[in-house]
């Protein structure tokens, strides 16, 4: 990738993202918010393409679903009601998992943010549910309407407030793939025993979006440096960001940052091996090692936001302890790069 190509890629991606993120793109099947009727929600090729793009750019909110009440399958006003955010991928995965089952989907206006983050931000709240249920004509069904909530919304939803408004809130499953089995039972029990798991499948799901996130960060740095740094760094950072989530539980360390250090040292050992083999010059190897360790720790700290297991107080401590180290290592890498003249293409 020549510098000119990198600039073009970066500018095009920035323009496309800027265009998309400022549009609440209504799907072709959407029902107008405020209406009192439900329409079927169907998934076509365009939705699959949009879902793929939404996954690749998972942390950038490119597509939104128009809030409102959607009908999936037949069943009309008697079908159970699921509440969710208007994050496109969330609605897509929900609709996909419960296709064919009679379900009504109450999509809240969370500015395209996923359920958990929207709840933290106060956008997925009891008030929003009550308002959206009212504007969608749901309340006309009468008091005692049972609504199934995603368990991850409860940091923003006060169950007692919903009950006071006449709803019967039920704590539903944590993820969309658990819904079919859940809905097959006539009585919707509280799934309060469920626990967030962060297994290989969940980590692999975040690996590519994390890699894309870091590719864009470092492509930006490469472009801003006017091509004076090697584009190899862009690819190294992208690779680290992909590997880190996959290897997360097996990396030595108890903190996100120390796991990053472990991965960085492993990669640095590889660079040292290339030095010994005469493939890398000493100056290049030094810059590489500094950059790799800095980036691994940075990826580790950044991954706190991409995982469902980080803790606010502990992350604050990690930032105070390791972010200065990251900055220092990057400064040393730049200084070494300039002083030793290594790493040009």
């Amino acid at each position: 990738m020549a510098y000119r190509d990198a600039v073009i890629t970066f500018v095009v991606l920035a323009l496309v993202w800027n265009f998309l993120r400022h549009r609440k793109i209504p799907p072709p099947y959407s029902v107008m918010a405020g209406g009192n009727k439900t329409l079927p929600l169907r998934l076509g090729l365009v939705d699959h393409v949009k879902a793929l793009i939404s996954w690749v750019f998972l942390f950038m909110r490119v597509f939104w679903v128009r809030p409102g009440l959607y009908q999936i399958g037949s069943g009309g006003g008697q079908s159970p009601i699921l509440v969710t955010s208007n994050n496109f991928l969330t609605v897509f995965l929900l609709a996909k998992s419960i296709a064919g089952r009679p379900v009504r989907l109450l999509v809240l206006d969370t500015d395209g943010i996923n359920v958990w983050c929207a709840a933290s931000k106060g956008k997925f709240s009891a008030r929003e549910i009550i308002d959206k249920a009212g504007s969608s004509g749901l309340v006309a069904d009468g008091a005692g309407v049972k609504i199934i909530l995603p368990k991850l919304c409860l940091s923003g939803v006060n169950l007692a407030e919903l009950r006071r408004s006449g709803f019967v809130p039920v704590i539903g499953p944590l993820s969309a793939d658990q819904l079919p089995g859940y809905l097959d039972r006539a009585e919707f029990e509280n799934r309060d025993e469920d626990r967030v798991e962060f297994g290989l499948k969940a980590r692999v799901f975040t690996a590519l979006p994390t890699a894309v996130q870091f590719f864009l960060y470092f492509l930006g740095v490469y472009v801003l440096s006017l091509g004076t740094i090697s584009q190899v760094f862009v690819w190294i950072a992208t690779g680290i960001a992909f590997i880190y989530p996959v290897l997360f539980p097996w990396l030595p360390g108890t903190e996100f940052a120390t796991k990053g250090i472990s991965l960085g040292l492993l990669a640095a050992l590889a660079a040292a091996g290339l030095l010994m083999a005469g493939i890398l010059a000493p100056a290049t190897a030094l810059v590489m090692v500094l950059f790799i360790v800095a980036t691994s720790v940075f990826v580790g700290l950044s991954y706190t936001g991409n995982s469902p297991i980080s803790n606010y107080s502990r992350v604050r401590k990690e930032i105070a302890r390791y972010l200065p180290v990251v900055v220092l290592l990057y400064l040393l890498a730049v200084a070494a790069h300039l002083a030793l003249g290594g790493c040009r293409d």
Binding site: C117, A118, K121, K151, N190, E193, L301, G305, N311, S313
Partner: protein, 80 residues
Amino acid sequence: MIGIDQEKCTGCGVCAEVCPHRVLEVGDIAAVVAHEERCIECGACQLNCPSDAVLVTKGTGCLIAIVKEDILRIKEKGCG
């Protein structure tokens, strides 16, 4: 940090029900923090406690959010 005010807690168990990581358990007379290491400080327990008995340092455990919200203070609290 998470804790339960044992004097205020009635042991109703709603905090344990809403916790996504099953950090809390209901003891004989009150809830207890059984797995503090799992807590992500999302605040679901605190929001839903009818007795105001849960004490938690609520926040988003995310580098970008903490830098924007706590250090630079250019965004309101909450991720996204």
